[in-house]
Symmetry: C2
Subunit: 342 residues, 2 copies
């Protein structure tokens, strides 16, 4: 898991090379040409969080309604929604989950434009979809996905920005901003704060993660990593939803990891922090916002890019905490690398 | 909270009277006439779970793509998605949350058909929307929503089935099935199993809820009730997602509430139970499926109606557990009845 985590800057670099960037640009141009009226993402587990990020991007950057489809409506209950106006995107590290392939098959039969985003170009999901993007993260050794997650994030970002450009080719300022990511990711990973913070959670019985907008998928993914590797029940809430009920649960015994960036999402999260303060929660802030007593600082970038950096210290925290708690993060109990559900 | 819970059979009965059923039928006919191409729900907290139920109904019963919109894309990040093909439904007990009203205002400006489903006909959400449905649950005294949740479920079910009928008028067999719900709900509430089971969770440090398809919103809502009233960290997963990671967390110390009905969703959940068994989780089954050693049994109905019954013993469990743990379920710490977020 440590090796997978460390490979992420190189993964960003690889995906930004002409070979992969051009392939994504061609797919983006094909999507733009078909002018879908809305976008439906389907994914599970870690990839679901990458899909959630892409749904925010789609709504904000493309002005297209976007949603996450539950496969079970189609695979279990036999729903046959008319998706002829839609782009339907399956996101899966392995491309091997039969339920996602079935959703794409049904969508394609109903006239949808279908796209598979995977780390395996020879997978059933890729065979089923009309278009595909290879996130090119290389073989992932650990069961808990890390480098495939961030590769999915970057590939989906490049794809959405390519669709926005129309011809798939990213504008020069976007390319320049993306080109900085490998170095910023390496700098983020060089910071030893996560390992120093891990003992704080040695005896935690549960944990809350929270973020808004682009940072909400980060909160969700951090919670999943902590559950997978440290068996720590971690509850993820959007900053707004946290105020609608679960806030009652937060007290001095409940640690909160709050993802707070520098853009509009971060600004709105700053309103949530005092409410957590009233409840005397133990808050650690992750991200570029200079708030809070205890922080895992991340270099400041446009909020749109922040999920590609903010998750890095959280992955390292999950790894360090698993080791601190005497668990083996490379072999989480009860899990398999490829999960097949229908 | 106990009084609110007990009023639910009467709430079903009220919503099924000609006065309310006809009002919903008129709205359903208006929706059917406009032939939306897809449906976007927006809601928070408990109402988000009612919206999730309605999204499943929309996909399965209407064959229309349905998704849940995150308000923050619009309210925080300024997204202006083109919703001219969409029906956009705001679901809110109070109708008072400014972010939902803003989503409906933006949607209406972009040409969407907008609908407010609330328990308050004089609310900002109703003023903003073109159409509205009053769930007529009466004043809810407790902060933790119970009777407004089930009233939202039934109103949304009547609405979707009315749209399916085309003219808003439910077919006779549907009306007959719905007419049985008040009595079935009363019978479910008369069962004392939840109070007997509450001590089992007296010292639980966390809890997992799970269900698939129509039962997944029930799992989510049960988790929220347990968090709001007993401050018990409760994690809700779809049965499929549970196998994609969080399964590692379940061990003999983690109690699992599994919602298992008698239809296709229940059948697919039966595959999850042995996996929980391998992990020696402490499983209590909620619903009509005759599986598991420990059950909160609920009368068998079509899986589509099961959420209107399955949540009842779970609400009672949350209430009983709060009392067992010495908490005041009528005044959860840190919460307000109407939460305003942007």
């Amino acid at each position: 898991m440590a090796a997978d985590i460390d490979e992420q800057p190189a993964g960003y670099e690889r995906l930004l090379t002409a070979e992969h960037a051009d392939a994504i640009a061609r797919v983006a141009a094909a999507v733009a040409e078909r002018r879908p009226r809305h976008v439906v993402f389907t994914a599970r587990g870690t990839s679901d969080h990458a899909a959630l990020y892409a749904a925010y991007l789609t709504e904000i950057r493309l002005g297209l309604p976007a949603g996450l489809a539950s496969p079970s409506a189609i695979t279990v209950f036999g729903a046959r929604p008319d998706l002829s106006d839609a782009l339907v995107v399956g996101v899966s590290q392995s491309g091997g989950s039969p339920d996602l392939a079935e959703v794409l098959r049904v969508a394609r039969a109903s006239g949808a434009l279908t796209l598979a985003v995977t780390n395996n170009p020879d997978s059933p999901l890729v065979e089923t979809a009309e278009l595909s993007v290879d996130v090119a993260a290389g073989h992932e050794r650990a069961v808990a996905a890390t480098k495939t997650y961030t590769a999915e994030l970057l590939a989906l970002l490049m794809l959405v920005e390519g669709v926005r450009a129309g011809d798939g080719v990213l504008p020069a300022d976007e390319r320049a901003a993306l080109a900085r990511l490998p170095e910023l990711a390496a700098r983020t990973l060089a910071d030893d704060t996560p390992a120093r913070l891990a003992p704080r959670y040695r005896f935690a019985a549960q944990l809350v993660t929270t973020g808004r907008g682009y940072a909400y998928p980060t909160a969700r993914e951090a919670a999943l990593k902590l559950m997978e590797t440290s068996y720590l029940p971690a509850l993820a809430f959007s900053g707004a939803d946290l105020l609608h009920g679960p806030l009652a649960m937060t007290d001095p015994d409940v640690p909160v990891l709050a993802v707070v960036g520098s853009g509009p999402g971060g600004t709105s999260m700053r309103e949530v922090l005092p409410r957590l303060g009233e409840r005397r929660a133990d808050v650690v802030v992750v991200g570029s916002a200079d708030v809070g007593e205890t922080r895992m600082a991340v270099p400041e970038v446009d909020e749109r890019y922040a999920p590609l950096l903010d998750i890095l210290p959280l992955q390292r925290l999950a790894l360090a905490l698993a080791l601190t708690r005497g668990e083996d993060p490379d072999a989480p109990r009860g899990l398999k690398k490829v999960t097949t559900t229908m």
